[in-house]
Amino acid sequence: MSQVQVSTDKTVLREYYLLRLRLAGINFLQFINKLRRHPAGMTGLIVLLFFVFIAVADPLIVPHNPKEVHLEDKLLPPAWMEGGKSEYLLGTDQLGMDLFSRIIAGTRISLLIGVLTVGISIMIGTTLGMLSGYYRGTLDNILARFADLLLSFPWLIFAIFTMAVIGPGFGNLVFALTFKGWVGFFRLVRGEVLSEKTKEYVEAARALGQSHFKIMFQEILPNIMNSIIVLGTLRIGFMIIMEASLSFLGLGIQYPEPAWGSMVNVGRNYLLNAWWISTFSGLAILLLVLAINMFGEGLRDILDPRLRRIE
Amino acid sequence: MLLEVNNLQTYFQTSRGSIKAVDGVSIKLEQGEILGLVGESGCGKSMTLLSLLRLVPHPGAIVGGEILFQGGDLLKKSSREMTRMRGRDLAMIFQDPMTTLNPVFKVGEQIRESLRIHNIFNQSRFSERKRLKQEKERVIQLMEETGIPSPMDRYYEYPHQFSGGMQQRAVIAIALSCEPKILLADEPTTALDVTIQAQILNLMERINRSHGMAVILVTHDLGVAAEFCRRIAVMYAGKIIEQGLTDEIIENPLHPYTQGLLRSIPHIVPDKPRLRPIRGTVPDLLNLPPGCTFLPRCDYAVEVCKEPQEMRDLGNGRLVRCARYK
């Protein structure tokens, strides 16, 4: 090993990273190709992209302001039913707010919560998991214990409790969900790092005198990125359900903000004469989560076959 | 004749075509005889054994031939009859003892299960307790016979508490429990250490002698077969290509493949010729050459080999599937 010439030549490094970039490009193309042969994953992706489009284009495509009250038009049925008005495609709620517009506006909230909570969870979980698995020692001990403790709280109970204490609202919701959300990524990354650490490429990097930081984030991280992406995608769906559940209980985002969960809750009081409020709001949640999970399981089959259950 | 297999065909239907894992195999087995079925991995020898028990895994199926045993064709039996014969008339032992015993049951209970399934101790005068006692005694006796030390204690242990050799002994005890006529052994020593291999082979030989149980030993190791079997059948790409008494096959191999196999066995004797591996690899079973399947690897190939070769009977039980013999 001592005979290995350590080249610090910048051009060599540049070549190396260019090569990496090209490999990443090839991997991406391969991935797209594989996804095309995975019908469920592909369907999920298309539906998901559709939702993302709605979320982005939201202010341009909503027929009404989602919080605009039309008391004269309250509890109108969907447009195709008797008594429905064509301007309210899916009907209105008890304050005459347009359900269709509210569902469209709610897409943004759901996706934003999902992406934000998972994104922050990944950042915290990956960093801590990496440090914990790489250095072991006291830090690892404390973090792992803490993670175990958080795991012994059932998800919803922890979220409901935290929201009950800190009160409803978007920011609080993100806080409550990431408080426990990072643990999943922490455990994943920590476990992966523990096993990757013993592999030859890490040994080689160490022998070449790479810094710990570079070994962690430039050598190990790219190798475990796939698992993180897969877990992350599936987690987004889960977080969306969490948010909807909290909003349903009145602890997340509150009426009249157009969060799907709280819309289902509002509609609950009108099941007898206005079934559409709960039904369509809930259907939106179900569809989005279905799309995310279909895409996520497709990703898992392609990127991380180890996680794959034999089909 | 105890067992007579005629033109057995077991095919696997896959999306890319049908794989002829067993393609017209015919073998005969006499009372108390040991037959070796030798070939490289993937040549169909294990599938032949599983076909005899009618346990070919999905998507495989026996599509033709007959298996005559005790005057009847096994392939014509109802699945209920067949279930009753398994373990009682034909028993099987497997390659990897580590995965053959069920990890969640006590070893003794797994042996006893065979006795229970086939109602070995089910005379009506026995009460359940008496029956259990008899079965347990028999299990202890079987464990003793197969050389498992302190069977009284070992009865209550789980497979993972056994070593590989001990596990294989337990598997043999299961196979032996109902005194079957035929023991089908699928590479029983391959997963074991060399010293243990010899012990297990010895054990099987002893059982063969004392119980008069016929054995079909499937192995990729011609050396093991030569040591242990009276007759050998060499299999290649789903077909038997040579058959005969062990001594004759070893002394005078006829088929080029058998010759190649013999030359590939390492010898410790110093003045033996250098190892000569057979060139090429086992052919893709989906794209077999139309004629002799060994053709692409054969040193003696001639024009006529491009046509399918029949088995040639050279008398005295010597059979070979090669154009060089008339």
Binding site: L149, F153, A244, R309 | -
Partner: protein, 336 residues
């Protein structure tokens, strides 16, 4: 030997219980906008008497570590404090609501396991058949379906449209039931009150299905995949070669092994069952712990919230303890 093992597991659970208590304590006292802040700041809807009560109960005028000391002492005594709104010890309220919650959770678990395990097994044995594909599709929906939405849809279909099942409560008003244990099923059987049993069962169906469905979905998927893995093993072929009937091969030899990973997942899913319980009780107005806590959140009855959450968390730990112990029985590689 087995007893020692069990004792060891219980000992391991003790620090977990303490840790959970501390986390609950810290969230209650330290997070921005914690109850103390809210009460001290916006005392509009909280009376001075209540602030006084809380200050006294939680020793709010002492430093934090002293507060924690009191907190743990009370916890060890099983004293969960006194509810503001009901003026009764929290533990009494919990005891009153617990049977309803347990009855629902048991109903859901029984529904889920009775459905999911056979489906997982059949799907694996008949892999890629219609029944496999259909049940795995349903299971996938079950994973993506929010519990509250499922409850509302079921309610809409079976209660509002078809009118065959009740929408709320545990028993009809017309039916009188002498309460002995608080478990209505048990009570109706003890007192021989068949009308009450029928009514209880009817009330239990929708909430149990709602709560049990996500668990059923996951357990069915896990059971299927572990069955598929097990079925590839030699010992399954061996069991057939011994002369076992296919049914026994599957149920005795394969299933016993496939249950090992499944039991782990069931243990984790108990958490979903407990959390979902709060939602289902809200949807179906089920008078259990979940509704108790959700209602007490809105009236800021913090001792009650804290107490119920603690009971939920401890139940989860206890349930996992049971699963752990069960695990040592079904997996011989772990026991002894």
């Amino acid at each position: 030997m087995q007893a020692a093992k069990i004792a060891e597991r219980i000992l391991i659970a003790i620090p977990v219980v303490i840790g959970i208590g501390i986390i609950i304590f810290l969230i209650m006292r330290l997070t921005p906008g914690d109850p103390v802040d809210i009460m001290m700041g916006q005392a509009g809807h909280v009376s001075a008497r209540e602030i006084e009560l809380l200050t006294e109960q939680w020793h709010l005028n002492e430093p934090l570590h002293i507060q924690l000391g009191y907190f743990l002492r009370d916890l060890a005594r099983g004293d969960l404090g006194t509810s503001f709104t009901k003026g009764r010890p929290v533990w009494d309220l919990i005891k009153g609501a617990l049977p309803a919650t347990l009855e629902l959770a048991l109903g859901a678990a029984i529904f889920a396991l009775l459905l999911a395990i056979p489906i997982g097994v059949i799907s694996a044995v008949k892999q890629n058949s219609f029944i496999d594909r259909a049940s795995m599709t349903v299971a996938f929906f079950g994973i993506c379906m929010p519990v509250f939405y499922l409850g509302i849809i079921l309610m809409l279909v079976f209660s509002v449209k078809m009118g065959v099942l009740p929408t709320y409560g545990r028993i009809s008003y017309e039916v009188m039931l002498h309460k002995v244990t608080g478990f209505y099923m048990l009570d109706s059987i003890i007192t021989g009150n068949w009308a009450a049993l029928g009514s209880t069962l009817k009330h239990l169906i929708l909430p149990s299905i709602t709560l049990g469905f996500p668990m059923a979905a996951i357990v069915a998927r896990v059971m299927r995949s572990s069955m598929l893995e097990v079925l590839r093993n030699d010992y399954v072929v061996m069991a057939r070669a011994k002369g076992l009937r296919e049914f026994s091969v599957i149920v005795k030899h394969a299933m016993r092994n496939a249950m090992i990973p499944t039991v782990t997942v069931i243990g984790l899913e108990i958490g979903m069952l407990l959390g979902g319980n709060m939602i289902v009780e809200t949807v179906f107005s089920w008078p259990g712990l979940g509704r108790l806590v959700v209602n007490s959140i809105f009236v800021r009855d913090y001792p009650l919230v804290q107490g119920v959450v603690m009971v939920y968390a401890f139940t989860f730990v206890a349930a996992n303890l049971v699963v752990d112990i069960l695990y040592t029985y079904i997996n011989p590689k772990i026991s002894i």
